[in-house]
């Protein structure tokens, strides 16, 4: 396999830590993919018009499909006195559930305004639970910008669900759980690969709130997404054990990720080989085409989703790209350990952001491709710098063997386009 071998990794890296203006989404944005995953859940943000406007802007046209999310907009009367807010919430939730009788799980999602006025949403959720029990379960978490960055909203949501997961019977054999929202197509592929290895697997979050996976001391879990620090901690407190692995991006990541489960559950090497050989070869072949375009291109990641380090590992080792800077909003050393070991030593890794300074660095470095948010993408393009907008990497199915070349395609397309338009 043509994967770059590096002499040493980036395990002991001291990231460049910056504080200043951060050009990132808040955790509310997670609702946009979470609500697609859990089909009978509704996400009710308690916040301001800004929150409603943010979700609307991020969700684009999806909002018109009568989506399962909305905002209870706080107004002046609510700010005047706290007592009244809970009654207001009763009314809004009642109104909502009457409109949507199909909803079985309701999330009250905290925002910056609700956190700052110290609106006790956990108490509100308890109260709503009493009112609407047993038809609807009500949970709460915070997706506020002051506490969460973009994908951390999913972390907060999943962590809020963990205490309510049914306990597994104490004497059952160890079982595998995959944690983190994946596109259904990716989930199905993974399930079938685990099947071929003879492993039963549950996915969290589930597609339906009535089919929550069980958890307990016999649970071994693999993280499918890198941004799940709190969820992991919550699972740990239920006795579940984390299987350390790189994330399932690219052929190498996916293989190592599967291998971590196979090793834990004692899957024979030949069974593993048999289960993975065909899709692995298929993916490698497809990647080879993409590598021709991307080999030797210099890439710069702005912080966005915490997917940056695994993505950097993938584009560097499997596509031959050179890493200029890898920015991440938050660096979880332990979850990222297997990834950092595969990043070449000396790579500039930055945590947090001062966007003006980072833009200065980016322009001085003149990379071939910049991964950044939509607020920066067109302005950088206008300066002659090719960009790949980052949010697409969160919405598109990119994990697993069958998607490896699609993922590479997301990076090569802007470069191809630049060549075509220049010609």
């Amino acid at each position: 396999m043509p994967i770059r071998a590096e002499t040493s990794g980036c395990t002991d890296v001291v990231p460049l830590v910056e504080r200043g203006q951060r050009e990132v989404f808040c955790g509310l944005t997670g609702i946009i993919w979470l609500h697609r995953k859990i089909q009978d859940a509704f996400f009710l943000v308690v916040g301001s018009r800004t929150c409603a406007h943010l979700i609307q802007s991020a969700a684009g046209v999806m909002i018109f499909a009568e989506p399962r999310f909305g905002t209870a907009i706080i107004d002046e009367r609510d700010l005047a006195g706290l007592a009244d807010v809970h009654e207001e919430l009763d009314r809004v939730v009642g109104q909502l559930l009457a409109r949507r009788p199909d909803i079985r799980l309701l999330f009250l999602v905290g925002s910056c305004p609700s956190e700052v006025i110290k609106l006790d949403l956990s108490r509100a959720a308890e109260r709503q639970n009493q009112i609407h029990h047993p038809k609807v379960r009500v949970l709460n978490y915070s997706g506020s910008g002051i506490e969460t960055t973009f994908t951390q909203g999913e972390d907060a949501c999943l962590a809020a669900m963990v205490p309510g997961l049914p306990a597994s019977a104490p004497d059952t054999a160890p079982a595998l759980m995959v944690v983190g929202t994946l596109a259904d197509v990716v989930e199905d592929q993974m399930r079938s690969l685990f099947d071929r290895m003879g492993l039963q697997v549950s996915f969290f979050p589930p597609r339906n709130s009535q089919a929550m996976p069980v958890v307990g001391p016999n649970t071994r879990y693999l993280l499918a997404q890198p941004f799940l620090a709190d969820t992991a901690r919550a699972l740990q407190s239920r006795g579940a054990q984390h299987l350390a692995a790189p994330f399932p991006l690219g052929v190498e990541g996916m293989t190592a990720w599967l291998q971590a489960a196979a090793t834990e559950f004692g899957v024979a090497p030949e069974v593993f080989e048999q289960a993975t050989a065909a899709p692995r070869q298929r993916a490698e072949k497809a990647l080879a085409v993409q590598r021709q375009m991307l080999q030797g291109q210099r890439i710069f990641f702005f912080p966005d989703s915490q997917l940056e380090i695994p993505l950097a590992r993938f584009v560097h080792r499997e596509l031959g790209m050179d890493l200029v800077e890898v920015g991440t909003p938050y660096l979880h050393r332990q979850h990222m350990a297997a990834e950092l070991a595969l990043i070449p030593a000396g790579t500039r890794i930055s945590e947090g952001q001062d966007v003006d300074l980072q833009l200065d660095r980016c322009i001085a470095d003149a990379p071939d491709l910049v991964v950044c948010g939509l607020g920066l993408a067109n302005p950088l393009e206008a300066q002659g710098i090719t960009t790949k907008w980052a949010i697409e990497l969160v919405f598109t199915p990119i994990q697993g063997y069958e998607q490896a070349a699609d993922l590479a395609g997301l990076f090569s397309r802007p470069l191809k386009r630049r060549l075509k338009l220049a010609a």
Binding site: G20, G27, A52, E66, I73, I74, C112, G145, L374, G375
Partner: protein, 550 residues
């Protein structure tokens, strides 16, 4: 608290951003939590600006709240000053910062910057985007506009009268091209445009606003407050007519000529095609088309006049989300004998559209989607809009070219006379059968099996009232859709006390073109119910048609 799925307007600080981004040398320092930078992408993506909006956010986080967020603000303002070197600075709070009660105005003053600093008080929990834009522009004028010299020196006196154009901003619906069109129009009349603001204006430009002879208010939602202030302070008159549509453009020209004493041109320019197009015989079929209008106040009031007087439509309903201009919209409604709907709840708009079953909807991006779901033709006349309504081509709404654009845009989704005639004539023909969509609406063509279902399935209309959100179905997977359709169809049949359709009548109904079939079904059922008819026959169908024919 208000339950919201969709909002027509953003918060007021987005309005302030629209003014700051429109101008060339103003910087906005916004006290806001991490995440509020999302608003940047409205400008870089929807308007496709090739630069970042001139906004610095403090992006405070939870850990900052215990400490000194005020210091954070001062640092951000200092750094923005050093980096961007603006000619004036706007400072203010977003909704969350409003709650933590730092005082951006006072803090900025303490920095003793050498440029004008305008502190914005934008109450986020009461007001919205357009108000924010209007207030920001008004405050900028109050702080920046210089009093003109009492007597202009002889050499500076211009031969031609001058005016400013007030209101165009960033993220404005067709503002770019409206400015160009109206500037040309004014130039042809003999008027020079001194300053356009806030769009493309510098601080120096705004300082000179009072020097012009009068103001043209293109968008009252943003420019009126400033224009009224300029009138109070400097006796500078402003135009009251918004030149949207041929008639209004002529009125606007007359108003400008009155203000300036210039002669009124004898006839329209040679590019004024809309009037003739509306008179041509192919447009006869547009007569009395029932139209529903929703959007911001200015565009709704103008569209109603165009629809009624220039297109020959019948305005069956109108409304606006602009509470600030509710009175104007209500007065407009009265002129057409309808009660205006003033709301920012799109569900109310949807309910009204549902009840009225218009043949054309003129609205915002949201109405476009309501229309799509109900299979009603629609054209966009007002913000909020998506990226496709910031077109690359020249596409004004105002002036005579604007009237041409409006004619094309509104008529396009409708069946034109010839096509409608053909469908009536060949309605049994395989290409023009009842299920065929108009050739230019190919994407709305229902799948073959759906057509069959529509024709044979019993009365789907009561479903809409028993299940509040049938529209969620398309968002799910195909299998779910089929399931839910079957599930809801069955109880609807049982619970309904409505007349049932005989197979012959159902078949006859299928011969009616799909775009009026819903209305025909509804009318016939209402007719049958009123008369206590149990089974709808072909006779009932035609009796109802005769009863309701206009």
């Amino acid at each position: 608290m208000q339950l919201t799925l969709w909002t027509y307007e953003g918060p007021p600080h987005v309005g302030a951003m629209r003014v700051a981004t429109a101008m060339t040398d103003v910087h906005y320092v916004l006290h806001a939590p991490q995440g509020d930078t999302y608003a940047d992408l409205l400008f870089t993506m929807i308007e496709r600006l090739p630069r970042r909006p001139p906004v610095t956010y403090t992006t405070f986080q939870a850990r900052d709240l215990g400490g000194d967020t005020a210091e954070l603000f001062k640092d951000a303002a200092r750094q923005a000053m050093a980096r961007f070197n603006p000619a004036a600075m706007l400072v203010g709070s977003s909704c969350t910062a409003e709650l933590i009660q730092d005082d951006p105005g006072g803090l900025a003053q303490a920095l003793q910057l050498t440029i004008p600093v305008v502190a914005l008080e934008l109450p986020s929990y009461q007001r919205k985007e357009n108000w924010g834009a209007s207030e920001t522009f008004y405050q900028l004028c109050r702080h920046l506009v210089h009093k003109p010299a009492a007597e202009k020196p002889e050499k500076l006196k211009k031969a031609r009268p001058t005016c400013n154009i007030l209101g165009p901003s960033a993220l404005g619906f067709r503002h770019r091209d409206d400015v160009k069109e109206i500037t040309q129009l004014l130039n042809q009349l003999g008027v020079d445009v001194a300053v356009v603001a806030p769009l493309s204006a510098s601080v120096a430009d705004v300082q000179k606003l009072a020097e012009a002879d009068f103001n043209v208010v293109l968008y009252p939602e943003i420019g009126l407050a400033a224009a009224q202030w300029l009138q109070r302070q400097f006796d500078q008159p402003y135009t009251k007519t918004v030149p949207l549509g041929s008639h209004a453009t002529r009125d606007f020209i007359a108003e400008v000529c009155t203000l300036t004493g210039l002669p009124q041109p004898a006839q329209d320019p040679t590019n004024a095609h809309a009037h003739w197009y509306a008179k041509s015989v192919d447009s006869t079929y547009l007569t009395g088309k029932r139209v529903y209008i929703f959007g911001d106040a200015t565009h709704v009031v103008a569209a109603a006049r165009i629809a009624s007087q220039e297109m020959g439509f019948e305005v069956v309903g109108l409304g606006s989300y602009s509470r600030e201009f509710a009175r104007e919209v209500r007065d407009c409604g009265k002129r057409y004998g309808v009660e205006a709907l003033i709301t920012d709840d799109y569900l109310e708009v949807e309910t009204q559209i549902n009840a009225l079953q218009p043949e054309l909807i003129l609205g915002t991006q949201m109405e476009r989607h309501i229309a799509k779901r109900q299979g009603i033709p629609c054209a966009v006349i007002s913000a909020p809009v998506h990226v496709q309504d910031f077109p690359a081509r020249y596409a004004p709404q105002m002036g005579f070219e604007g009237a041409n654009v409006l004619f094309d845009t509104w008529v396009h989704p409708l069946m034109m006379g010839l096509e409608e005639h053909l469908i009536g004539m060949f309605r049994e023909d395989f290409e023009f059968h009842a299920g065929a969509a108009p050739s230019h609406l190919g994407s709305t063509r229902p799948a073959a099996e759906n057509v069959a279902a529509v024709v044979t399935a019993p009365v789907p209309s009561p479903v809409a009232t028993t299940t509040p959100m049938p529209v969620s179905a398309p968002a799910r997977t195909d299998t779910l859709t089929t399931d839910s359709v079957q599930k809801v169809a069955a109880p609807a049949q049982a619970a309904s006390n409505q007349a049932t359709w005989s197979p012959e009548a159902e078949k006859e109904l299928g011969k009616i073109p799909f775009f009026v079939r819903g209305k025909a079904r509804r009318n016939t059922e209402r007719f049958a119910q009123d008369l206590g008819v149990a089974t709808i026959t072909v006779e009932t169908l035609y009796d109802a048609k005769a009863h309701f024919s206009r």
